[in-house]
């Protein structure tokens, strides 16, 4: 035997190779025959698992890994991993602390939201809006003074123009007497939707106490009666006459 041949014979293999185990055929069991598809799937799973185990085993005893573990590089890797774990833990703590703060903030926002909801509801109180509107020079129109006019093509743009032309703070009473000019054209053009503008001074409540705002409105000059003010006090600063008869006291 040549020395080369002897060394081939004597030298132990670096990684002992193991033969993959033969997959045993599933044994026939008693009872009704199971579907073949399930059998195949199960045997495929077993084969896959065994293959994976074999591969892991081969990796654990791999030459490169073995050399790595025996060298000093391993110390560095372990140190790096430890630092990573600590950093991860710190990050986790920071995250939890952030969640805590977020929960506190959620509570604060919830409180703020509830407080704002309450405030919003209080601010939208009809009587408050009415008094604010009165301060701006608007007044509640009486039922007798209301006119319902049908909207026509082009009314929206005319209303928008009138709205932008009229300063928001300008009281309705100071607007020029546009109703006289607008009313005839409205009735002339459409001839519908123009209901009676009652001359009656009575509020129609039959002796009962009329709301104070309504009685004030009754004292308003006739020329202002076309200005439709929502009875909630959500009054419009735009004279209805300028809007081409599109205004209606919507709720």
């Amino acid at each position: 035997m040549s020395p080369a041949a002897a060394s081939r014979v004597q030298a132990p293999p670096l990684a002992p190779r193991r033969r993959p185990r033969a997959v045993p055929a599933p044994r026939r069991v008693s009872g009704p025959a199971r579907p073949a598809a399930r059998d195949q799937a199960q045997s495929g799973l077993v084969v896959g698992l065994l293959g994976l185990a074999g591969r892991l085993d081969a990796l654990a005893s791999h030459r490169v890994l073995d050399r790595l573990i025996r060298s000093r590089v391993w110390i560095g890797i372990v140190a790096f991993a430890l630092i990573g774990i600590v950093t991860l833990q710190l990050g986790l703590l920071r995250l939890n602390s952030g969640i805590g703060r977020a929960l506190e903030r959620e509570g604060a926002l919830q409180r703020e939201n509830a407080a704002l909801s309450v405030e919003n509801s209080e601010l939208s109180l009809g009587s408050r809006v009415e008094s604010q509107a009165e301060q701006l020079g608007m007044r509640l129109s009486s039922v007798a003074g209301l006119q319902f006019l049908s909207a026509r093509k082009g009314d929206v743009s005319r209303a928008a123009t009138a709205l932008s032309a009229t300063p928001a703070h300008e009281p309705v009473s100071e607007a020029p007497a546009t109703s006289e000019a607008a009313a005839p054209s409205t009735s002339g053009e459409s001839g519908e939707g123009h209901t009676e503008s009652s001359e009656s001074e009575a509020s129609g409540t039959g002796g009962g106490e009329a709301p104070p705002a309504a009685s004030e409105a009754e004292a308003a000059p006739k020329s202002e009666e076309t200005a439709t003010a929502a009875p909630t006090g959500e009054t419009s600063a735009v004279p209805a006459g300028e809007g081409g008869g599109a205004a209606a006291p919507a709720g």
Partner: protein, 540 residues
């Protein structure tokens, strides 16, 4: 020596780890881990325009363990200004010989945090939700109340308890040495309650309550109620009660003030009930609006003599005039024409004797006489609204059937839940559209020159309705009182195509006037003159 020290350390370690291990682990866990109850936010209640009527805000129940307090006086002195409570009240609580005492419940979160920041030993705060009603008295009886444990007790709060309440959650917090949370987990997440949107309109509700207050000021009644509804859908736009109650402080109101009379006030309806007999007879084809009746000033039915309100001789009145003038004798004649059996059938067809199905808890069914219990004089009082008990809600529903072309719909208050629109309750036809239109036309006469509510009008709008003035039974004598009445008015507008219906019931009005036409009808006018243009309803 070193060995000895090591041995000692070993023993100590073994003692701490083995013998005390379990107890120490528990102590550490208690120090670091806290289980918090996360109270679910109760759903909001808003009106049809989204105006919040009931809101929940975070709060705390503040409690103390007096055994842990070393100086109750000092604690009371420090807590009193923060909680806004008298010092002596606090001191009394903190000096009790008990392990637990509530200092104040549902303290607003900010205030509670300020109290807890004082770090008084034994003072703790449990998170809860406080129910706030931003509009105070507005629709207080309809909205109802919430108990100290956050559960609905009455009204919408009770009827929608399951939806509004939500589900309480649990949170586990692990804190570090300085109290910073290092781990937070929620074994059970809290589920906030659903928001409920009502059909009520806060502005119409406000105006209706204002009108009722004015009626109360003028006529000093025992109580009063008003319902405003859309007859075409059964949606209730306002349900007001007088006396008012503050929803934020229900304890300050009497139990009577907290009662929702719209569904809890059974009363004898009087003349407003005449419409049942007339509608039935019209539908049966027994009469027409123009049918003539010879109406004397009084009529004898069995052992009873029934008069009209005003003395008169024999008059010739049409059906329309009988309704307009509210003739008792005329209505009894129509009832007799109909017969007890058919009249009784119509009473039930209009929904009397059973709850309307409105989404409010504890609705009364009223009382109707069973046909087999009719006496000889029953047809002398039932057609004129005596001898049966109805609720204002039942009357409003019955009139809305006439207004809606003959379809009786269950009134409803909830418009949507959690943003999802609720399906409209299904109605059932009880009158033909022709009959309903005829009755509507006849009811216009009530507000006409000959009618019992002739003083009520709204410029531009054609109104229709019926007055009612019913004697109350005196519980002492068991007979009809001559001083106690229920004045009511139920009407709608525009008469030809009704869009809005209002029912007013005033219990025991005084100060000289007792009639539906003078007490309730003007209130109807005031509410309608606001609501009709407000809703953009055009006159016809």
């Amino acid at each position: 020596m070193l060995f000895l020290l090591l041995l000692l350390a070993g023993f100590r370690t073994a003692y701490l780890g083995v013998f005390r291990g379990s107890a120490l682990r528990q102590l550490a866990s208690e120090q670091q881990t806290t289980n918090e109850t996360v109270t679910a936010q109760r759903g909001t209640i808003s009106d049809r325009n989204g105006v919040q009527l009931a809101v929940s805000e975070p709060a705390r129940d503040l409690a103390a363990d007096p055994y842990l307090l070393r100086d109750p006086l000092s604690a009371a002195q420090r807590l009193a200004p923060v909680l806004g409570m008298p010092q002596n009240v606090l001191l009394r609580k903190l000096s009790q010989r008990a392990g637990f005492v509530y200092l104040q419940r549902a303290v607003p979160a900010r205030q509670a945090e300020a109290a807890l920041a004082l770090k008084i030993p034994g003072v703790t705060g449990t998170p809860v939700m406080k129910r706030v009603y931003p509009r105070g008295t507005l629709a207080a009886q309809v909205l109802g109340q919430v108990g100290t444990e956050g559960q609905g007790l009455s009204g919408i709060e009770l009827d929608n308890e399951k939806l509004l309440h939500g589900r309480t959650g649990e949170r586990r917090v692990v804190s570090d040495a300085i109290g910073q949370p290092v781990s937070i987990s929620e074994p059970h997440a809290e589920v906030p309650g659903e928001s409920v949107q009502l059909t009520l309109d806060a502005n119409i509700q406000q105006r209706t309550e204002d009108v009722l207050s004015a009626v109360a000021q003028q006529f000093s009644p025992k109580d009063a109620t008003a319902i405003v509804m859309d007859p075409n859908t059964g949606a209730i736009l306002a349900a007001a009660n007088w006396p008012q109650a503050n929803a934020n402080d229900p304890g300050a109101s009497s139990p009577e003030a907290l009662r929702d009379r719209a569904v809890n006030f059974p009363y004898e309806p009087g003349s407003t009930f005449k419409v049942v007999a007339v509608s039935g007879a019209l539908q049966e084809g027994l009469i027409t609006p123009e049918s003539g009746f010879s109406v004397p000033g009084q009529i004898q039915v069995a052992d009873r003599t029934i008069h009209d309100d005003t003395e008169h001789g024999v008059e010739s009145l049409t059906t329309s005039q009988i309704l307009a003038r509210s003739s008792n004798v005329g209505a009894i004649e129509i009832g007799k024409l109909e017969g007890a059996s058919r009249f009784n059938e119509w009473v039930h067809r209009f929904g009397f004797g059973a709850p309307t199905g409105v989404d409010l808890p504890g609705e009364e069914a009223g009382v109707t006489l069973a046909l087999d219990r009719y006496s000889g004089s029953s047809m002398g009082n039932l057609p004129i609204g005596q001898g049966e008990l109805v609720t204002p809600m039942q009357m409003a529903a019955a009139y809305s059937a006439i207004a809606d072309g003959g379809v009786l719909r269950p009134p409803h208050l909830v418009s949507s839940v959690g943003g999802k629109t609720q399906p409209l309750p299904r109605g059932r036809r009880i009158l033909s559209p022709k009959t309903a239109a005829e009755v509507r036309q006849m009811l216009e006469g009530v507000l006409g020159p000959e009618g019992t509510a002739s003083e009520v009008s709204i410029p531009g709008y054609q109104l229709a309705g019926k007055t009612g003035t019913a004697s109350k039974v005196d519980p002492e004598t068991g007979e009809y009182s001559k001083t106690k009445y229920v004045a009511s008015f139920i009407g709608f507008a525009p008469a030809k195509d009704p869009r809005l219906l209002t029912a007013i019931v005033v219990d025991e009005p005084q100060n000289g006037s007792i009639f539906g036409g003078t007490v309730a009808a003007p209130a109807f006018g005031q509410i309608m003159s606001f609501a009709l243009p407000y809703l953009g309803i055009q006159p016809h």
